[in-house]
């Protein structure tokens, strides 16, 4: 059902955890659907300097979260905003069709984290 790469990320997820003092936080999904993803970012010179995630969800939810953190670490915020659900699924060698919508929310959570960062920093506080 899952590709070897999905299973590899599921077993050894990258960048799990929290950033104590994050520059941006994004959350997507809800417990009723069975998937919640939370992404925290640290930004330096408009680049994602550090990223951590926590996920409640199925194998696809965990693997996509892990993959998205790996894809964008060190990337500029604009590059990270261009990452879509499809990018993540493709990077994992595909997802079962039924999982494409319900459990592939990691890119959305990432975008929210970036938007959160931009909101905080357009408000006048000094950039990091």
């Amino acid at each position: 059902m899952y590709s070897a790469l999905v299973m590899e990320h599921f077993q050894n997820p990258r960048n799990v955890g929290v950033i104590p003092d994050p520059d941006g936080v994004g959350k997507e999904g809800n417990p009723v659907c069975g998937d919640i993803m939370e992404i925290m970012i640290k930004v330096k010179d408009e680049r994602i300097d550090d990223i951590k995630f926590r996920t409640f969800g199925c194998g696809a939810a965990i693997a996509t979260s892990s993959m998205v953190t790996e894809l964008v670490k060190g990337k500029t915020l604009d590059e990270a905003m261009a990452i879509s659900r499809v990018t993540v699924a493709e990077a994992l060698g595909g997802l079962p069709p039924v999982k494409m919508h319900c459990s592939n929310l990691a890119a959305d959570a990432l975008h929210k984290a970036i938007e959160d960062y931009r909101r905080r920093h357009n408000g006048g506080s000094a950039g990091s």
């Binding site: 899952y2 417990p31 009723v32 919640i36 993803m37 996920t55 409640f56 969800g57 696809a60 039924v98």
Partner: protein
């Protein structure tokens, strides 16, 4: 991925390995005694004899007449045949059917179709937090238009046993046919149709170490019944189609084996189950689902707050353990188990369900292996879960 240290099958409610004695009994009927039971020559008579003997064995365990035993293609077919067969035959008497909210899809989806396309009204009786139907609710739901009552004998997801005899008494007093889906119960519980007081009962061979692709519908003599499959006169015109002789032989052999050592087997299995339940419940924020005592001897089902069922299953699979879950992610519908929801378990917790069902080949070592690895799996997933961390922060 490495090869797991051990292989432990804990999904006997899904299916079972065919018992070697069952395979042995079936084998001659493929290429040696392959006759059509409707043929008059020797080969045909031989096949007919095998079916007659099988029917006799099944009837004896059911406490039924031989002509009340109908061989079908599976448990789902038996359920469909019972429900449509009785509903359609009684169409002039009414269009109301009563069932429970914790049925297998073979029943509940049949109800949905009868409602949507055939104008039947369906009452879904509620259950308590253990998944038990209250017979008083049944008595209140009956109307003059009620033509069928169908209640599952033992639940496939949580193992809860329903008070069938009590409910069938109510049905009988109102002269309403009573069907029970005994697919999960057959092989471990009493299926004597007079003890249960039922008019129709479904069972399926592959749940008790028989082959897949064969079931039984018991239909009490005198029940009005419209066949769903028409053709030849097999099964006394109630289920047309050439009999699946080797599988019917397999079903009867498996049922005989299951009921030959029933009490010893149940005692052994339920001891393993209790060891499993006691061990699993030591995990924080875990809960047993289903009735604590009125449950199938082999069935243990749980929820583990803050995590999701499919993730548990994948981790167990990596360690060689086969199990199942009522999580939405393990179903095509993306809805969590209707059974758990009907029992009042919040949807977000229903996503975290795990069902472990034991069987004849399981040992205490198997149970201890699971108890050894499960807490680590749960902890690993919780460490990743934003819900768990939030909870800890609040504590």
């Amino acid at each position: 991925m490495g090869v797991p240290a051990r292989s432990v099958y804990l999904d006997h409610a899904a299916t079972t390995a065919v018992h070697p004695k069952v395979v042995e009994a079936m084998l001659p009927y493929f290429s040696e005694k392959y006759g059509n039971p409707s043929s008059l020559y020797g080969l045909g008579r031989e096949a007919r004899k095998a079916i007659d003997e099988s029917r006799e064995k099944v009837a004896e365990i059911l406490g039924a007449r031989r002509d009340e035993v109908i061989f079908t293609g599976c448990g789902t077919e038996s359920d469909n045949l019972a429900i449509r067969g009785v509903a359609f035959a009684n169409k002039s008497r009414g269009n109301h059917i009563i069932t429970s909210s914790v049925e297998h899809h073979a029943v509940s989806h049949t109800m949905a179709q009868l409602n949507k396309y055939f104008g039947y009204e369906v009452t879904y009786l509620p259950v308590d937090r253990y998944g038990v139907v209250n017979p008083d609710d049944l008595a209140r739901a009956i109307t003059d238009r009620t033509v069928l009552i169908t209640i599952i004998y033992a639940n496939n997801e949580v193992g809860t046993i329903e008070p069938i005899a009590e409910m069938s008494k109510i049905a009988r007093a109102r002269r309403i046919p009573f069907h029970t889906d005994a697919v999960q119960a057959a092989g471990s519980l009493d299926i004597n149709v007079d003890h249960l007081g039922v008019d129709l009962l479904s069972l399926s061979a592959h749940k008790f170490y028989g082959p897949k692709g064969v079931g039984v519908l018991y239909a009490r003599k005198g029940s009005a019944f419209l066949p769903m499959q028409t053709g030849g006169s097999q099964e006394r015109n109630r289920r047309a189609g050439t009999e699946n002789v080797p599988y019917i032989v397999g079903l009867a052999t498996a049922l005989t084996l299951a009921y030959g050592h029933l009490e010893d087997n149940n005692r052994r299995i339920s001891q393993l189950r209790d060891r499993l339940i006691d061990g699993v419940l030591k995990i924080p924020y875990s809960q047993l689902t289903g009735h604590p005592t009125q449950r199938l001897p082999n069935s243990a089902s749980f929820t583990f707050q803050f995590i999701e069922g499919e993730s548990i299953l994948l981790n167990l699979d990596l360690l060689g353990i086969s199990a199942s879950s009522g999580s939405a992610c393990t179903s095509a519908s993306l809805e969590p188990s209707h059974v758990l929801v009907a029992m009042g378990i919040p949807v977000e917790i229903a996503h975290s369900s795990l069902r472990l069902t034991l069987g004849r080949e399981n040992t205490q070592e198997d149970v201890d292996y699971v108890l050894g690895v499960l807490p680590g799996i749960i902890e690993k997933l919780r460490a990743m879960s934003p819900l768990y961390n939030t909870r800890l922060a609040q504590a």
